[in-house]
């Protein structure tokens, strides 16, 4: 399973790519595999605030529906509008074209709550065999 080394992760399987005080958020390879075929993503409004561990959107697959959780406090600065017509990009390229939102990070200290790649991989292995 692919866990890129330059990302931070939540226990709910979102990833965050930090770039200065900004960040890009998506869901992980593990998450997309668990959800199966994604048929749409409910995106937040640009400009809306997000709060760590609170839902900011919804991803719906054929099988099930799942909330998207914010990795940190901040504000939505952009959303991936391409997902409206190509929600399957979240399945095919979860770390690339399937990104979900771009955010401004309020407090970089809150990044300490997130999981490093190694820890996240352990977490996935636990869930897979749990």
């Amino acid at each position: 399973m692919e866990v890129p080394k330059d990302l931070l992760f939540t226990l709910e399987h979102e990833w965050l790519r930090v770039q200065g005080n900004k960040g890009v958020v998506g869901i992980t390879e593990f998450a997309q595999d668990q959800l199966g075929d994604i048929v749409f993503v409910e995106l937040p409004q640009v400009g809306s605030p997000i709060k760590q561990e609170n839902a900011f959107g919804v991803v719906e697959s054929v099988k099930t529906v799942s909330d998207l959780y914010a990795p940190v406090d901040g504000k939505v600065t952009a959303t991936n509008k391409d997902l409206e017509t190509n929600p399957d990009w979240v399945n095919s390229e979860p770390y690339g074209k399937g990104w979900i939102i771009e955010i401004e990070i309020d407090d970089p200290k809150k990044l300490d709550h997130l999981l490093a790649p190694g820890k996240y991989l352990e977490q996935c292995q636990k869930e897979q065999h749990g």
Binding site: G36, D37, V39, F40, V58, E60, V62, K63, V65, N91
Partner: protein, 349 residues
């Protein structure tokens, strides 16, 4: 893999949408060995079955198959099932996995006055469903007889890949295809052989996920969703398998009464106009007021839209009625349609 009625079942192999379209466009194989089988034999087998099922055995011939229900005295549904007639005194029932033990007990408990033997053959029977437009051409070279003259809802005993099989032209997908009943210990070799020969036809193994989306596009009922012990076949749209003209069967009095009164609610199909996926137990409203509940819903891979079956009060059940499904506190609009949601391609005579 997920646990299902005591079995470990694959939800998906490659992906629900890909598997779904594979069955609609080409051919897929399902391991449905979890389905239950019960055989009834004896001089009174027909009389006995007649006393339990809502449909009428009378017109069955050897090699024909009947879809029916068994009901409780109060009219609720014990199970829906297929009855296969080998001969006037020998039948095979195919029942839902989750109801197998309950059904077997129910049947045994009613066998009192009848000279009939009831046997639970589920544990030694495996079942493979081969479904899709290429099903016949794929299976024909493995069969010892001409499959083309097995009509829809008919079966034959024969051999598939040299294994004794009951070959039935039935399915739960709305496509042409077969359900093969096989000795459990030989099913794996048949499964592997079909997979091997299926390559040129684009065959894929299909999981429970696509089994559900395929049956939902057809509007077929699933026990535990559209029907259960608290629902009536009449409100579930299954009045066509309830033959009140029969002399007697368990539940007849209750169902005759319901029919006279008319059911208060009805199963309807709903097709959403906007983005959203109906799911079991979501509320159905009209202009915001509750009128019913979704029993099964999905994203239709064929139509690229949300579809569902739901119970709504009778006055909101007319075709074309505009309703909403409440999805995360929003009413997503749609309309009442008549299932199947996509045309059925089962074999016509």
């Amino acid at each position: 893999m997920v646990p299902f009625a005591g079995w470990n079942m694959p939800i998906q192999y490659r992906g629900v949408i890909e598997e779904h379209l594979c069955v609609r466009e080409r051919v897929g194989i399902f391991d449905v060995s979890h389905m239950g089988e019960i055989e009834i034999r004896g001089k009174d087998a027909a009389l006995f079955l007649q006393s339990l099922i809502t449909n009428d055995l009378e017109k069955m011939t050897d090699g024909s198959i009947l879809y029916t229900l068994m009901c409780y005295e109060h009219g609720g549904v014990v199970d829906d099932l297929l009855v296969h007639r080998f001969s006037p005194d020998h039948y095979l029932l195919c029942v839902n996995a989750s109801n197998q033990d309950k059904d077997y007990e129910w049947i045994q408990n009613h066998s009192g006055p009848f000279q009939a033997e009831v046997e639970n053959t589920g544990p030694r029977t495996a079942q493979l469903a081969v479904q899709g437009p290429h099903a016949e051409i794929l299976l024909q070279p493995m069969a010892d007889s001409f499959l083309g003259d097995i009509q829809y809802y008919h079966f034959r005993k024969g051999k598939i890949h040299n294994v004794d099989a009951l070959i039935a032209r039935t399915g739960y997908t709305g496509e042409d295809g077969f359900e093969l009943y096989l000795p459990a210990e030989e099913a794996e070799s048949v499964f592997r052989e079909i997979i091997k020969r299926g390559g040129p036809y684009g065959l894929q193994p299909i999981g429970l996920g696509a089994r559900d989306t395929l049956r939902l596009e057809m509007g077929y009922s699933l026990y535990g969703h559209e029907i259960d012990e608290n629902t009536s076949p009449l409100e579930a749209g299954l009045g066509w398998v309830v033959k009140l003209g029969k002399e007697r069967f368990v539940g007849k009095e209750a169902l005759a009464k319901q029919k006279a009164q008319g059911p208060a609610r009805k199963i309807v199909g709903i097709k959403l106009w906007e983005r959203g996926v109906p799911r079991s137990h979501y509320s159905v409203t009209q202009k915001g007021s509750p009128v019913g509940e979704v029993t099964s819903g999905t994203y239709s891979p064929s139509l690229n839209t949300g579809i569902g079956l739901c119970y709504v009060s009778r006055e909101h059940s007319a075709l074309g009625t505009r309703l909403e499904v409440r999805i995360r506190n929003q009413g997503i609009p749609g309309e009442v349609v008549k299932p199947p949601f996509v045309p059925s391609n089962v074999k016509k005579d």
